[in-house]
Symmetry: C2
Subunit: 361 residues, 2 copies
């Protein structure tokens, strides 16, 4: 399967399917120069690095292997990519290849955006989360101790290659985390897709390759549609942040990496659904169906047990989605239709936090 | 005086003149949000920080004071700007103000390009070099131990405010360094301007405010013309690098900050002129007139005494202007007309290096 993210001059293809990593010529055709730097991590390197190196045999291929985990998504670790590029004398025509999950994709993309003020890169996402999420939209960056993704750039890849075979080695917990984003696309803009997910959740969670490929394709198509309309996040694109403002508060409070991103977003989406119901947009039945789908995907439906309302609110204020000190949230107008508001009554917000935060009292 | 850099949606004004820093409303009108972060250094802060703070009185104004010098143009020091932005909860509508020379401008610009994937910034250059050079073109970034300006972004300011009064506190050596770039504009694209400089070099070096304002205006206009034609440095813009490939080799060999950027470029321009003569483009008389103007501006006309040809060539190969391992140079077709070549005969290059590098043998 293949789809094109339509961004004018910066349009690029996403390939989805089995056996793509070793497919002769596929990655190679998107390398414009003679140098390639593969950036990967200690977990992914032993599994797939040799396969990718092999299909690039005629080029100057160098590699950087970073430690695995969100905790290493920092400016310091980013610098190791620059070290490697300069040690091996990569010039402006080099191509960086991100081989790994979202952390590798975000860091490699930011390194490509910044190295010599911008070079090419190719995304090879190896987790469900990164296949459906990080591959589309051009967001790249690193974390700061005081906030997630606070340092970064918009930079589009030359191509994305989502090989579903890589999901066979993915831990169940990470498959679930990826499903959180899949469910998100249904909730914000695609009620049919959400229905399809509810009917196929068992097969998806068993790792059925065909179902997963369809889920990735539909998620990417939904995201590409939203992003094409709003490349630089001036407006409608922000609906992609459903569950993320709550989620970032959870991740930041718990310390990055203790709750997976998808787990925090899952719990945040239940909060957003609950708040949407309190504001009269969707029914309590809708909230329960959404909560059941998220639970069936093996994901948390409440917040961590040690967070207070202040823990949420103070973190939601430093979040990027904040405009001049207000809390800006993505909520549901209907199931399958999101909207953005910076005018949420505090009483209802707190009611949601008290009911779903499993809050410390 | 005022001119506009015409880049479509990203066009911006450059104001040049006396008393602009304290002029009511001038800086303020280019701030779109309610937060401002002034980034400056230990040398400039005591001179001008209070003046700038005063005209921004109704906003949330925070400051970061960095150590002074090219040695601090690093990813680590850059991070102090992000620390300050996050500690003071600056959001996406913040404006960064670069108050200082080229190092402050480049770092602040890159911080603005990367903070939350891009926020506004205003340039207030306080050296002649940064007034004529860093203010136009949108190049931002930091150095890496293995190469200058290797990490960065293209990011255009909202406005540039070049107050000629700030040149009164500038050391003579730095005034000379700025003149190197002024001379460069004449050499690459403006023979009339070069002629004007030769006639007025004594007054310029005495610090005559009117002459300096005209020199800044004509330099910015020349650069803006070149940059407008080629915002992302695909082609003709590279002529702005006259003398820079040699110059970067010198700076990198001597350690950043020991030779000023303008001094290294000055010496590099004499080398470029000499090589252009050896290739039959300009006369030996032209070279001598160019050399005299550069010397009259208080600038070096030969390289450092401890560099060998290998010291130059190996550094010129890691330079960004390299395409696939070749040395790419900007040379003169005529006085006032530069061209780009990646096909310089090695014998002539070495002849220039032996004659002007004051080389170790």
């Amino acid at each position: 399967m293949q789809l094109t993210v339509d961004l004018g001059e910066r349009s690029y293809p996403i390939y989805i399917g089995s056996g793509l990593l070793s497919k002769s010529g596929l990655i190679r055709q998107h390398v414009r120069g003679k140098q390639v730097m593969i950036v990967t991590n200690e977990t992914v390197a032993p599994l797939y690095l040799d396969t990718v190196r092999e299909v690039l045999g005629d080029l100057q291929v160098n590699t950087v292997v970073l430690p695995d985990g969100e905790a290493y998504k920092t400016l310091d670790v980013l610098n190791r990519i620059f070290d490697a590029l300069l040690e091996h004398r990569h010039n402006r025509t080099t191509t960086l290849i991100a081989l790994g999950g979202g952390v590798i994709g975000d860091m490699t993309g930011f390194a490509a955006a910044s190295y010599q003020r911008g070079v090419d890169f190719i995304q090879i996402p190896t987790t469900l989360l990164s296949q459906v999420d990080s591959s589309v939209g051009g967001k790249t960056g690193v974390n700061h101790p005081l906030g997630k993704n606070m340092i970064g750039a918009f930079h589009q890849p030359q191509a994305v290659i989502a090989d579903t075979d890589t999901l066979k080695t993915l831990p169940a917990r990470e498959l679930s985390a990826g499903m959180a984003e899949v469910i998100k696309y249904g909730l914000i803009c695609d009620a049919d897709f959400l229905q399809w997910q509810a009917s196929n959740i068992a097969g998806l969670m068993r790792g059925d390759g065909g179902l997963l490929a369809e889920a990735i394709y539909r998620s990417c198509a939904d995201k590409a549609r939203v992003v094409s309309a709003d490349e630089r996040e001036g407006g409608v694109r922000a609906i992609l942040n459903l569950g993320h403002t709550f989620g970032h508060a959870i991740e930041s409070h718990q310390g990055y990496g203790n709750w997976l991103h998808g787990e925090a977003v899952a719990s945040g989406m239940v909060m957003a659904a609950d708040l949407s119901c309190r504001l009269g947009h969707i029914s309590r039945d809708d909230v329960e169906r959404i909560t059941k789908l998220i639970a069936d995907a093996g994901l948390p439906v409440t917040g961590p047990s040690d967070m207070t309302d202040d823990d949420y609110v103070s973190r939601m204020l430093v979040d990027k989605k904040v405009l001049d000190g207000k809390i800006r949230l993505v909520l549901l107008k209907n199931v399958g239709e999101a909207y953005i508001t910076d005018d949420v009554p505090k009483a209802q917000l707190l009611a949601t936090l008290y009911s779903l935060g499993t809050l410390a009292t």
